[in-house]
């Protein structure tokens, strides 16, 4: 069971797409898993033969517990190391050849499993049990798990005198939305508690970019037109290749560079909440491919079918709140990432240049970054590079 988010403790197996003996190729979808954030496709990370399906449909499986055994079809490969980029948090490889552990799999309960004592202690300490990973038998949350979570300050519910929030069953939409709310609450609370953010903003003039985009779209079919958002994403992805300290993870007290740029794109969902799945290797995609990836990602984020790798892989996040006209967004970093880039609306504004005032399309770009990993100087150079790239859109 892969971790589809730093705050994920369990996933419910919704469907198997393979059976024992099937040959699968890297990237094939083998199963569907439901989490607080919705239903995701689980893809394998190597060519392999499916051995035993150790988890049954409906089982609620702890992160890290095996779902199935598989044998790599390429003999050289030692049992799976994670994909090129480290998945967030403590997530082990998506699907591994780990021997079957019957105690790690629990029957579908639809109910969070915690000992009576753990529940009592969690209530006393204000710890949200849905954010605690259980280490007890069959993944049950024990008192020790709650106390460790409290000590680490993870996902403590706001103690506003409100009623205790019961763990939600992912089965019902309302409950799912509530569960997602809790998950987001846990993630941003952890972020704001652990990550010393610094914020920078820069107004970027997009006259050349918009003109170029307009011209480029003239020759494209309507369905294939490129939106400004895609151009901004491409600019961010390319700029990040020069600033590795903004692209990666802060794990176990140290920075681990992300390597490739897997751009997490924040997508608001219709019934509330949001996800930020990755566009893989965004810096190397053509604008057209990136636009198609973006469209596809938004569709699947809202309609279902996101892949586990898309949830686990983002090395940085971009959030664009321009649709409603907001001028700038100072965003919250998604742990364990170390930066988030925000865009407001592209508005026509008075713009002074060479002693003259003109009216130009302008966007305010922002950067929120982890000060443990990078300093403001790096951040400002990144934004300057982004502005430079967007001034010469044909190079993107």
């Amino acid at each position: 069971m892969p971790s589809l988010g730093a705050d994920m403790a369990f996933g419910t197996l919704v469907a198997w797409h393979v059976k024992p003996g099937d040959h699968v190729r890297r990237g094939d979808v083998v199963a569907e898993v439901e989490t607080q954030k919705g239903v995701f496709d689980i893809d394998v990370r190597q060519d392999a033969v499916i051995g035993e399906l150790t988890a049954e449909v409906g089982a609620r499986v702890k992160v890290g517990a095996p779902l199935a055994t598989l044998t790599p079809t390429t003999e050289v490969a030692p049992p799976p190391t994670p994909a090129p980029t480290p998945p967030p948090s403590v997530a082990p490889p998506a699907v591994t050849t780990v021997a079957k552990g019957v105690h790690d799999i629990e029957p579908a309960a639809g109910r969070l499993r915690a000992s009576p004592l753990a529940r009592r202690v969690a209530a006393d300490l204000g710890v949200d049990l849905t954010t605690v990973a259980g280490t007890g038998e069959a993944g049950v949350i024990t008192r020790g798990d709650v106390e460790r979570a409290a000590a680490q300050g993870v996902a403590v519910l706001p103690v506003a005198g409100g009623p205790e929030v019961a763990p939600a069953s992912p089965a019902e939409p309302a409950a799912r939305a509530n569960a997602m709310r809790l998950a987001i609450a846990a993630a941003v609370t952890r972020s704001k508690r652990e990550i010393p953010h610094y914020y920078l903003t820069q107004d970027i003039e997009l006259g050349a970019a918009m003109a170029w985009l307009h011209a480029a779209n003239e020759s494209r079919p309507v369905t294939d037109r490129i939106l400004p958002a895609a151009l901004l994403l491409k600019g961010v992805a390319v700029a990040l290749t020069k600033f590795p300290s903004l692209n990666g993870f802060h794990l176990a007290g140290e920075f681990q560079p992300g390597g490739a740029v897997h751009l997490g794109v924040a997508i608001a969902l219709r019934d509330g909440g949001l996800v930020a799945p990755a566009i893989h290797d965004a810096d190397r995609l053509s604008l057209g491919d990136l636009m198609r990836s973006l469209t596809d990602l938004v569709r699947r984020a809202r309609g279902g079918g996101l892949r586990a790798s898309e949830i686990t892989d983002p090395t940085v996040t971009v959030t664009n709140l321009g649709d409603d006209g907001v001028q700038a967004v100072l965003a919250v970093i998604t742990p364990p990432q170390v930066a988030v880039v925000g865009f407001g609306a592209i508005h026509e504004r008075p713009w002074a240049e060479h002693g003259l005032i003109g009216v130009r399309p302008v966007v305010t770009a922002s950067l929120a970054a982890d000060h443990r990993v990078s300093d403001g100087r790096v951040g400002s150079q990144f934004l300057a590079e982004l502005a430079r790239l967007l001034a010469t859109p044909e190079a993107l």
Partner: protein, 345 residues
């Protein structure tokens, strides 16, 4: 109640002037001492006289006290337990020995319908100061008919007190307290314990028969047991200590009425419990203990109560199968390890 309270059962370990003895000799000494001090006390049962008792507990007593007070009986448990009830009603203090627990079933009507009920059915007019001793338990290749642990059954019955001495102190001290009890008391002596050797205080005497004892203190898990399984439980606790797990061992001692407070106090400290019971699991004393923990300490539990019991089969005769069917220290250790640290094993 009028029992004589001497040392706390758990404090009896440090015997400054201990004498080397066995469980068997401690029981015999308890019988002898009671008969010497109270002329109303007598012993009867199958082969307790000339043969000296099937487990040799009464060897030598016939010579000392004579056939009036050490009485061999016909092979009819119903008859001689009934005799004991009558004698008790008539003012004597009988000790009835039933050879092994399976034969007590032949006297079940006397025990359950007469001894246990007379006080209540007579409106408190007639109490039955009867003591019944019997051997219980498996482990000696006596096969399916002579290896039961039915003390849990008897602990179901209101009106009688059920004792399970597991130490030399209790073997010596429970009998006088039982004789002092105005109501029926059944003492279950695990047959494997008769050869248990150790030091016993020369002045050892009556012990309380209303409380459990903590045989080993700990803070990670509570091991609840009694009688014949105390030994393997202590062994398991020692092995767990080497593995860094601190186990508290509770010897129930008294199976009816249960010392619920002692169990709950311990579980509230350790938050985990394993019940070790040589009886079969279904409908057993271990089930009762588990239920009481759930009723009284649910919100202190950090794991479900676990049980280590005998396999639910008629006891096998071959030694290896019999051993496998019985609770073992290694199973206790595994159970606790899984409970305390499920990912280590």
């Amino acid at each position: 109640m009028s029992i004589v309270t001497l040392a706390e059962p758990r404090a009896a370990a440090a015997a400054p002037q201990g004498i080397r003895t066995t469980y068997r000799d401690a029981v015999r000494e308890a019988v002898r001492s009671a008969m010497r001090s109270d002329p109303r006390v007598f012993l009867m049962g199958e082969d307790v006289g000339k043969y000296g008792g099937t487990y040799a507990v009464s060897r030598g007593l016939l010579e000392e006290f004579g056939p009036e007070r050490i009485r061999d009986t016909p092979l009819s448990e119903s008859a001689f337990v009934g005799l004991g009830i009558g004698a008790a009603l008539g003012g004597l203090r009988p000790i009835v020995e039933i050879m092994t627990v399976n034969f007590s079933l032949l006297a079940l009507d006397q025990i359950m319908n007469t001894a246990a009920t007379l006080l209540h059915m007579s409106g408190g007019q007639f109490n039955v100061p009867l003591v019944i001793r019997m051997a219980t338990g498996a482990g000696r290749q006596l096969a399916a008919q002579h290896s039961h642990s039915l003390e849990g059954w008897y602990a179901h019955i209101p009106g009688i007190r059920i004792l399970a001495p597991a130490t030399l102190e209790d073997a010596r001290g429970m009998l006088p307290s039982a004789l002092a009890d105005p109501d029926p008391v059944l003492i279950f002596e695990h047959a494997l314990l008769y050869n248990l050797e150790g030091e016993l205080d020369a002045g050892a005497g009556a012990v309380p028969i209303d409380r459990a004892a903590i045989r080993r203190e700990g803070h990670d898990v509570t091991l609840v047991t009694y009688g014949g399984t105390l030994g393997i439980t202590m062994t398991a606790a020692g092995q767990l200590a080497e593995a860094g797990v601190s186990a508290e061992v509770i010897d129930l001692r008294v199976l009816r009425p249960l010392d619920t407070g002692a169990i709950l106090d311990s579980v509230r400290k350790t938050h985990r419990a394993v019940v070790i019971d040589e009886g079969w699991r279904s409908g057993s004393l271990s089930a009762e203990v588990s239920a009481r923990i759930m009723e009284g300490a649910f919100y202190d539990l950090d794991a479900p109560v676990a049980r280590v019991c005998s396999a639910e089969v008629p006891m096998p005769y071959p030694r290896h199968l019999e051993q496998y069917a019985l609770p073992r220290a290694e199973v206790i250790v595994e159970t606790v390890q899984r409970m305390v640290n499920p990912h280590a094993a």
